[in-house]
Amino acid sequence: MSLRFQRLLFILLTLVIILSAVLLILYNTRENVSYFYTPSEIDKSDIIINKIIRIGGFIENNSFNKISSSSFKFKITDEKASILVTFKGILPDLFREGQGAVIEGAFIDKNIFNATNVFAKHDENYMPASIKEDLKDTGYWNKKYK
């Protein structure tokens, strides 16, 4: 085994060990690394009132209610569980029913989540506006993109 091959092996082995160490750390702290919980990950019996957390999901269809000009009520869902959310403030442009969103805030009781911040989540799909109209006209508009 030549000297340079030994050095190469040593470097690669070190890299693999460091990488696996870092990945193990990240894997075991994944709950803290994740930016938000999904609604179904939240255990109803385990809710801590007034603890600030983030929940991510979709805005449930037909759940959005405007209480006043800056106060809103809607449900956030991941199709397995849904949570009732109240929010006072300005909603981002992309916010609408069916759209992904991440909300930050705390449960004020077992069933109502009071959001202090609402972020709209954008998905990985990019499509020209004109094609959306074409798809709608021909009836191929996929609800998933909404």
């Binding site: 340079r4 050095r7 190469l8 040593f10 470097i11 690669l12 070190t14 890299l15 460091i18 990488l19 870092v22 990240l26 994944r30 690394v33 994740s34 930016y35 938000f36 919980y37 999904t38 991510g56 300005i90 909603l91 981002p92 442009d93 992309l94 916010f95 991440v102 911040n117 609402v118 972020f119 709209a120 989540k121 954008h122 998905d123 990985e124 799909n125 990019y126 499509m127 020209p128 506006a129 004109s130 094609i131 959306k132 993109y145």
Partner: protein, 232 residues
Amino acid sequence: MKFFVNPSKFNEMADYLFRPLLILSIILFAIGLLFSFYLSPDDYQQGSTVRIMYVHVPSAWLALLTYAIMTLYSILALAFRIPFGFIFNTAVAPIGAVFTLICIISGSLWGKPMWGTWWVWDARLTSVAILFIIYLIIIFMNLSFENRIVREKVVAIFILVGSVNLPIVKFSVDWWNTLHQPATISKLSKPSIDPSMMTPLIIMTFAFIMIGVAIAILRIKTEIISRKSYLS
């Protein structure tokens, strides 16, 4: 292929390539920006804001690519005792840092209207911020140490250790819940982007690569000269 590892061969090749590269990058930027601003359609829900992507995504790719190449050169330099690797790393680190900074700034400009916030500490954004800090540390390490032999080895080892961050940046959106959207373009599946938006993205990517290589050539040549005259 000698010019990848041999300074004098590199100099010859660089003299040959520099002008064409510069002209090509200017042309590609002109076409790419024309496409990005005028010839590509608005997105169905982002509107005109989608045009930020044509700067954001290429700079993000190149920030990662630059670091990946630096990692390869570090291995070459340390394992195979090729000093050109050290020269390359010293010269190219600031270019990668600038790409990362462009990526972060354009991303924040996009995030404010779309997400409703400039910055969040989710896995993708945090790992890119760490990448930027790693680049800064490499630059500052290159400016410190009296002894060059010690310095370049320490820097190369640091680059290798920092390369652990690369897969984390790439896969952060798949491994954890993040506010940042997952990858649009990957090899395994059909890209979920329309061809009319893919065109400016590809042109801009090549424009960024060309200008990156052109600047790298200038910086590497400068580094070779300063080493020859014992300036560093």
